[in-house]
């Protein structure tokens, strides 16, 4: 969820009234955003860099506000104020216009070479714009917020804004070998080739994160004007030549992308938010984008989409009973201009700022928000169903109760563990263990899913060595093993594990526990092996030689019981004999 920082005084000035913190918090809650933190530049610097650095910093109050991830239209002061004012019924939502220029439109020509790296581009022009310090900062901040969120850290879309009066169209978007791109990038005093820039920015705390998007490509994207002046090398950096300033009058916006839909949303959002500062308010100048196939598309699209919604359906979905005109009013407050059409139907105009509305259900939600979630009458569904338990969970719970009644204490260990927990420490080679491997663990503790509950219990004992002896622990939980029969290639096994840790191994105790479990499960001791269970001596590296047996039930091995090998004991930082029992309970269902 993105968080935006807004100067409180500017916000209240734009809203035309001031609020107490509580009042504003309440307003945010209803609107579906969240006042996360109240701070100031000074406090932020104080917090991060100490008292000395904070001296002289601004003490103006800043509101940090959490915005839902799909509300790109609220990511800057301009959009937030517009949304809130319309929500409060104080302003009408503006109509955005796309107009051709007096002369020929600007044109961005996409070359086929971009196909392999970043095939899409869109563009627009904001004419006769007037920035002040605050609006200029807001313009830059919004681009940054969009880059971080909708643009997925510039991987999907990258925005470049330029002073149109410093360059000359038509513009060319192409992909060139890194060494043949050379320009003076933003905030640098000399020219670099693209390869040099990659080196230069490899230590830049901000830009280095974007380098991998194109670094390994044989060609890098670049936008030039008709004179060969480099406007930008997306998605990394713009050129110094065309950079916008407070005095910029005409802004050329280009968005390059791997996802054309998102590029268009980004462009729409940017021009909708800032066309209010144009000489002709809420009006954007068209740009032509020529595809490699030679097709000309006009941008920005700024389409008002119309959706026809049934009043009944809204009332049913939300659980309210409002008349059509009331619902239309509610929607209008959510920036969705709505008109009643005939009986029981509403036409909703979805503006280019609300790309989050992709289905009628999104409209229902806005009705509910405008109505107020907490004003909806609560009712119980009439759904009449008979409950049942998942049989395996029921059996697990019954056995857990019995294990506790037998004097064992339940542990709750992690399903993920290190490779050595299930191999080396248990004296087994890793390749003999059918474990599921995690490809991107952040620490050693999450390398594999456990294939046995034993390691977790031994770790629990190790962390509780101060407890009086004997220690008797159990866990009934899932382990994961590879299984090519399943669609995902793995399955869970519901295992039961019990350990006894004392000055003597106490094999007879875990053995006795097994017998008790079998008694509870109505499984008789049956050496012939066809109906009941029995123990069959075996050798297992985890266990002490001659002190280990397989548990055979109905002819198949379901578990193992024995005295742990001393090397296993010591590898878990323990020093006393220990016997253990582990079996899969699924066959007993």
């Amino acid at each position: 969820m993105p968080t935006i920082s807004i100067n409180r005084d500017l916000l209240f000035k734009a809203l035309g009234r001031s609020y107490t913190e509580e009042q504003f918090d309440e307003l945010c809650f209803k609107f579906g955003i969240e006042l996360d933190e109240v701070t100031s530049d000074k406090l932020i610097i104080l917090k991060e860099q100490g008292t000395e650095r904070s001296a002289g910093a601004s003490e103006e109050i800043i509101y940090k506000i959490d915005i839902p991830a799909n509300r790109y239209d609220l990511l800057c002061l301009e959009g937030l104020v517009q949304g809130l004012q319309v929500f409060l019924g104080e302003k009408q939502f503006p109509a955005f216009k796309v107009v051709p220029p007096v002369t020929v439109p600007q044109r961005l020509i996409i070359k086929p070479s971009t196909a392999s790296i970043r095939p899409h581009a869109v563009a627009a022009v904001l004419r006769n714009i007037h920035f002040d310090q605050n609006t200029f900062s807001s313009f830059i901040d919004l681009q940054d917020k969009l880059h971080q969120n909708l643009c997925r850290k510039r991987s999907l879309v990258a925005i470049g804004t330029h002073d149109l009066d410093t360059v000359h169209g038509p513009f060319f978007y192409e992909a060139l070998p890194p060494d043949s791109i050379k320009f003076k990038p933003l905030s640098q005093s000399k020219e670099f080739t693209a390869s040099q820039l990659m080196d230069l920015y490899s230590t830049d705390s901000h830009l280095r994160h974007y380098l991998p998007i194109i670094r390994d490509s044989s060609v890098y994207p670049v936008i030039k004007d008709s004179n060969g002046v480099v406007l930008s090398m997306p998605p990394i950096i713009n050129g110094e030549h065309s950079k916008i300033t407070l005095d910029t009058k005409n802004v050329f916006i280009e968005c390059t992308a791997t996802d054309l839909t998102k590029a268009s949303i980004v462009l729409d959002t940017l021009v909708c938010m800032f066309s209010r500062y144009c000489g002709d308010q809420f009006t954007v100048e068209i740009c032509e984008v020529e595809t490699p196939e030679g097709k000309i598309n006009n941008y920005p699209i700024l389409k008002n989409r119309h959706e026809k919604i049934s009043v009944d359906k809204i009332n049913t979905m939300v659980g309210i009973n409002e008349k059509a005109d009331e619902i239309a009013n509610l929607l209008t407050r959510m920036c969705l201009t709505a008109t009643v059409e005939g009986t029981g139907s509403i036409s909703v105009e979805i503006p280019p700022t609300r790309h989050d509305i992709i289905h009628a259900c999104d409209v229902y939600e806005d009705v509910a928000i405008a109505f107020g979630y907490n004003n909806i009458t609560k009712t119980l569904p009439k759904t009449n169903t008979i409950a049942s338990q998942f049989p395996l969970n029921k059996l697990s719970d019954q056995l857990r109760d019995q294990l506790a009644q037998a004097g064992f204490t339940e542990a709750l260990t992690f399903s993920l563990c290190s490779k050595e927990d299930i191999s080396e420490k248990l004296r087994k080679p890793l390749n003999s263990v059918p474990a599921v491997h995690v490809s991107n663990p952040k620490t050693l503790e999450f390398q594999v899913a456990r294939t046995t509950l034993l390691s977790g219990l031994l770790k629990t004992i190790a962390a509780n060595r101060k407890m009086p002896l004997p220690m008797k622990l159990f866990e009934v939980s899932d382990v994961v093993v590879k299984d090519s029969q399943r669609d995902v290639g793995a399955r869970n096994c519901r295992n039961l594990c019990a350990v006894y840790y004392n000055k003597s191994p106490g094999f007879e105790l875990v053995h006795g526990l097994l017998d008790r479990l079998m008694q509870l499960l109505e499984v008789p001791l049956d050496q012939s092996g066809s109906k009941g269970y029995f123990l069959k001596p075996c050798e297992d590296a985890t266990f002490f030689p001659g002190r280990c047996a397989q548990i055979i039930f109905a002819g198949t091995v379901v578990g193992i019981v024995g005295v742990l090998h001393p090397d296993v004991v010591t590898s878990f930082d323990l020093n006393l004999p220990c016997s253990a029992l582990e079996l899969n309970i699924e066959p007993f269902l």
Binding site: T261, G319, I320, L380, P381, F390, D401, F414, F446, A449
Partner: protein
């Protein structure tokens, strides 16, 4: 044996009301010790008699004194042995010893000198060799008379004589312990021995009918019973499971941790570029890395709705790739299972259904005190025709009411697979604000319709974590204390029943805040009761009886307890200079302590001869490991172990002597915060660095408060709480070895108040 005597004693008591064992011994001419034995056996019978132990001093003859009483004093014997003409000393001694074989030369020596000084005899040197001759004709042997009298029990000696005879070792003082008895509440003159407990023999013979049984001491605790335990989190899980079952929800089979991206994300209409599908947030698998057998038709419908829309949707308008959908992962939510269930429901012909699950999910997140890489998700799903948002709100009220939560509020939210989406908030009386307790919503048509569910079917769903309510219910602030191998088994053993509705989710319900604080304080008090009583004794001692407090602190020079050293410094500086500290090193140390450890208090007061000092503190460096020990001299069981406990003791002493506030002189809420920090530290010592880093993070958060504070607890800068003194000193060393950032650098060790 005791019975005959016992009954005699009891009879005497009945007649006389009281009795002294000494008097009875005299009266019955019995050995006193025998009577004492009888008294003790009577005391064992319970409350038959009461007896006060008394001690009295008595003068009695020594062995030598007894001889004197029998044979006369040494001087008298010497006198009687002198013939009328006189004789030499040797002859006289020979004569006395002839008469009395026990008479020694030493006695003779005393006899001559006494007889001379009494003027009974003189030395005559006229005839060459010195001779002793009688000077008087008869003598009165007062010494013998006095001793004879004393032997009969009559003590009329003057103090001078008593001193003299004591000096001559003729008499000695004997302390006699005796009992003064009186009848007890269940006095009776007949004696039956009380039995401790019923035996099989008594039952067999029926002798229990005539026996009396010793009363039980019901104030003592019973013996801990051997037992097994269920884990607290699983107890809360059982409670939630029960609630769902009571509400008619069927449990979903969630025993599949490995899931494909398709079911975990794509089926839920979560676009393939969604940040949650990033490797930063999700555990992907390298083996088995991909899934197969995704239902082909269904997958085509999912692909279409993502890339082009349909079912009334615009779609996301991107190039959907099967490779992304096939990537295996550890499920990030149990909603993946809900998706499978709903798909199966549609395939099998839709019938209204209510499902729930409580099981593990996995997030590749940054870990902290409240987040782990795996946790339990609770999920509820209702699928039926014509369900409304009002229905969802209604069900949530009923669900949370069963948890004891009555006050809910809903906030609009965004979730890729629900629309409308609502975050569930409940009012937290402790924090005095609304806190998020879960998420809910109605599944999007783009998720349901490709599955083949009828168009007028809505599916309500909500989810929350199991760990969070459990942490709130049982008061944990670190999730690792609750889940994983580091869990303290003692905690599992001591954990109470889980009755969410009974306690009405103590944290979440609106109750009297003061009551809450009191409860918290009560629990802390209980935990600290041991130290508490000790300190009360110390306080009394310091203030009323003026008895000195003598503390011996043992600490290991390898792990110098900085915080205790600081508190000792404060004690010296603020305790009216009445604390005297001496530092020693124990001989068992392998090498000598560096001088900074030996001279550390750097005290101006080193005058050990002061007599008005209140506290003598002996500091001994000794190889005892990380946990220092304080011994309170003259207080048995007074050993207190561990740095935090000692710090608490010293803080209390400081507060009682100086009226400063650093710990319990603050109000109870601050006091409990201080306890919390100290407890957390103690937990860290046991669990090592991972936990320690979490503590650091907590401290960083606290110090990261917007007011730029440099302290952990307390309302004001400048007032340092015990928690600040304690942790800042402890961290001083450790911070250098860890990269802890700027905030902590400000948290400089507090060396004084």
């Amino acid at each position: 044996m005791a019975t005959a005597h016992g009954e005699k004693v009891l009879k005497y008591l009945e007649e006389n009301g009281t009795a002294s064992s000494l008097k009875l011994a005299e009266l019955w001419n019995e050995d006193h010790q025998k009577i004492v034995g009888t008294v003790k056996s009577l005391l064992c019978l319970g409350e038959v008699i009461e007896a006060d132990l008394q001690s009295s001093a008595l003068w009695d003859l020594t062995e030598e004194g007894k001889q004197v009483a029998k044979d006369g004093s040494h001087e008298a014997q010497v006198f009687n042995a002198i013939p009328p003409a006189g004789s030499t000393q040797a002859e006289i001694v020979a004569k006395v010893t002839e008469v009395n074989s026990k008479f020694t030369k030493d006695m003779a020596k005393v006899g001559f000198s006494k007889a001379m000084s009494l003027g009974w005899i003189v030395v005559d040197k006229s005839s060459g060799a010195p001779k002793f001759i009688k000077k008087v004709t008869s003598i009165q042997d007062k010494v013998q008379e006095h001793l004879k009298e004393l032997a009969t029990g009559k003590d009329t000696l003057t103090n001078e004589l008593r001193t003299e005879y004591k000096k001559r070792k003729l008499i000695q003082e004997i302390i006699i312990k005796s009992y003064l008895m009186k009848p007890g509440p269940s006095f009776s003159t007949s004696v039956t021995k009380q039995e401790t407990d019923l035996t099989p023999e008594m039952i067999a013979s029926g002798s229990w009918k005539t026996k009396e049984f010793k009363a039980y001491n019901l104030n003592a605790l019973g013996t801990p019973i051997p037992r097994g335990h269920l884990h607290p989190l699983m107890k809360v899980r059982a409670e939630f499971r029960q609630i769902f079952l009571e509400m008619g929800f069927t449990e979903m089979p969630t025993n599949n941790f490995v899931e494909s991206s398709f079911w975990n994300f794509d089926a839920l209409f979560q676009p393939q570029q969604h940040p949650a599908r990033d490797a930063h947030d999700t555990f992907f698998l390298s083996d088995p890395s991909t899934a197969t057998n995704i239902p082909v038709d269904y997958m085509e419908r999912v692909k279409k709705v993502h890339s082009h829309g349909g079912y009334g949707s615009q779609g996301y308008g991107y190039d959907w790739k099967i490779e992304e959908a096939q990537k295996n992962l550890l499920r990030t939510h149990t909603t993946a299972v809900s998706a499978r269930m709903l798909y199966a429901l549609a395939e099998g012909g839709f019938k209204p259904a209510k499902y729930f699950s409580i099981d593990r999910v996995f997030r590749n997140e940054t870990l902290d005190a409240t987040h782990l890489a795996e946790f339990h998700q609770i999920e509820g799903v209702i699928a039926d025709y014509g369900l409304t948002l009002g229905n969802l709100i209604g069900v949530l009220y009923e669900f949370f009411r069963k948890l004891g939560i009555e006050k809910l509020r809903f906030k609009p939210a965004y979730n890729p697979y629900t629309e409308p989406s609502m975050e569930i908030f409940s009012y937290h009386p402790g924090l005095k604000k609304w806190v998020e307790i879960g998420n809910s919503g109605i599944f999007r048509p783009e998720m349901l319709l490709p599955m083949g569910l009828p168009e007028d079917v809505s599916v309500l769903a909500w989810g929350l974590s199991l760990e969070r309510p459990t942490m709130i219910k049982y008061g944990y602030d670190n999730i690792r204390d609750l889940v994983g191998p580091k869990v303290n088994i003692q905690m599992v053993a001591d954990n109470p029943l889980c009755r969410l509705d009974k306690h009405r989710g103590s944290e979440m319900k609106e109750t009297d805040d003061l009551q809450d604080l009191e409860n918290r304080m009560d629990s802390i008090m209980t935990r600290l009761r041991g130290i508490e009583t000790e300190v009360k004794k110390l306080k009394r001692q310091g203030k009323t009886t003026e008895e000195k407090l003598t503390l011996v602190i043992e600490a290991d020079p390898k792990y110098p307890p900085r915080s205790i050293q600081t508190l000792v410094r404060l004690l010296v500086a603020r305790g009216d200079a009445r604390t005297i500290v001496t530092v020693h090193q124990h001989s068992s140390l392998a090498s000598a302590c560096p001088t900074d450890l030996m001279q550390w208090p750097n005290l101006t007061v080193s005058d050990g001869s002061r007599i008005d000092n209140q506290c003598n503190l002996t500091w001994i460096w000794k190889p005892i490991g990380r946990h220092p020990i304080v011994k309170i001299v003259n207080r048995p069981n007074g050993d207190i172990h561990g740095e935090a406990a000692i710090a608490r003791l010293l803080a209390r002493i400081l507060e009682s002597w100086t009226d400063c506030a650093m710990y319990e002189n603050f109000d109870s809420s601050i006091c409990s915060q201080i306890d919390d920090w100290l407890d957390t530290w103690e937990g860290c010592i046991q669990s090592g660095d991972s936990k320690f880093l979490m503590l650091i993070r907590r401290i960083q958060n606290q110090l990261g408060h917007p007011d730029g504070r440099k302290w952990l607890v307390g309302p004001l800068p400048g007032v340092k709480s015990l928690a600040d003194i304690f942790l800042s000193n402890l961290l001083g060393d450790k911070l250098n070895t860890l990269n802890c950032g700027r905030k902590l650098a400000r948290f400089s060790p507090v060396k004084g108040i």
